[in-house]
Amino acid sequence: MAQQTSVSGHSAEAAHEGGHHPTWQTYVKIGVLLTIITAVEVSAYYIPAWETSRVYVPSMLILSAFKFIMVVAFYMHLKYDHRMFRALFTGPLMLAMITIIGFLFLFGQIAIHLGLT
């Protein structure tokens, strides 16, 4: 009996009001933040001292990852959603990242630098 359950209990509106979903103000603030980070990224590309430095690539990856997390956590509501949704997303995402890193070590520039190819 407990295995089959009817999903209807709450209206969507009540769920959002009583739940943890952000308000429209939060969404707008995140939109502004995403724009600012993108502007910083693009500016960094045009600053030779930054673009040629060793911190450029890590800083770009960190900024990009931050934007990625903000969209997934707040706009896609993963921060507030059920853990099964989190598992369904982060599992394949980790697999994809391992694939990218693995391929880079096997065949990419990293492999060339390490003398593996």
Binding site: A2, A12, E13, I30, E41, Y46, K67, Y75, M84, G91
Partner: protein, 227 residues
């Protein structure tokens, strides 16, 4: 009994009556599983691009200047960062308008007394805005692809051309599918009005749209900004 109530609370977003053994909306589970599979698809495409990066024998190249030995034509780095930055901004703003569309559907029945509340509560406006921004992004991509072709870069020119067009082309195809999905939602909204009970349908479309956005966040950094 306790289990039944626990699973009902775990699915507060479902608007429609349907049976589920997990207590979660099956459509949301399906779309998250689909997004997970899409992560692996784009992960492989990005991995392919990065592996082939810097291995093209002939140009045009993404960032480096190249002289065509046959025509003597000098081609600067082919990627147009200002144009792509603008298209990235457009796609980010489309995610914002999509989340506002979802918010408008959820709070449809709340009284709207001020102009600001009426604007914020108009799901039609935000869905239309999202679709238009998506079309705007596609126009930027069409411009970019056309410019590249005129510069001599095609799918078969070199490794960069092959991996770049496949990666960004697949992403563009996803944006196109998203725009069509949004237009269908907009048509439903125009015809009968989306209500809070339709929240799950809008949420699923929104999840897909935001995923398309996060893929572009990764592509923009890895392909355009990192030499």
């Amino acid at each position: 009994m306790a289990h039944s109530s626990a699973v009902a609370v775990a699915a507060p977003h479902a608007g429609h009556q349907h049976h589920t053994s997990t207590g979660l909306d099956n459509r949301k589970i399906a779309v998250w599983a689909f997004i997970g599979s899409e992560c692996m698809l784009f992960g492989c495409l990005i991995a392919t691009y990065l592996v082939y990066k810097g291995r093209s024998i002939i140009g045009p190249f993404p960032h480096e200047t190249w002289t065509n030995p046959q025509t003597g034509q000098v081609v600067q780095g082919i990627l147009d960062i200002p144009v792509t930055s603008a298209s990235t901004f457009v796609l980010l703003m489309s995610s914002l308008s999509m989340v506002l569309a979802h918010n408008a559907v959820v709070h449809k029945r709340q009284p709207k007394t001020t102009t600001g509340q009426r604007i914020l509560g108009s799901s039609k406006l935000w869905l239309l805005m999202t679709a238009l921004l998506g079309v705007g992004f596609l126009c930027f991509q069409a411009y970019e692809f056309t410019a590249f072709t005129h510069e001599g870069l095609t799918l078969s020119t070199n490794l960069f051309g092959s991996s770049f067009f496949v990666l960004t082309g697949f992403h563009g195809a996803h944006v196109t599918a998203g725009v069509l999905w949004l237009l269908v939602l907009l048509a439903i909204d125009m015809k009968r009005g989306l209500q809070p009970e339709d929240e799950a349908s809008v949420d699923i479309a929104a999840l897909y749209w935001h995923f398309v956005d996060v893929v572009w966040i990764a592509i923009f950094t890895l392909v355009y900004l990192i030499r």
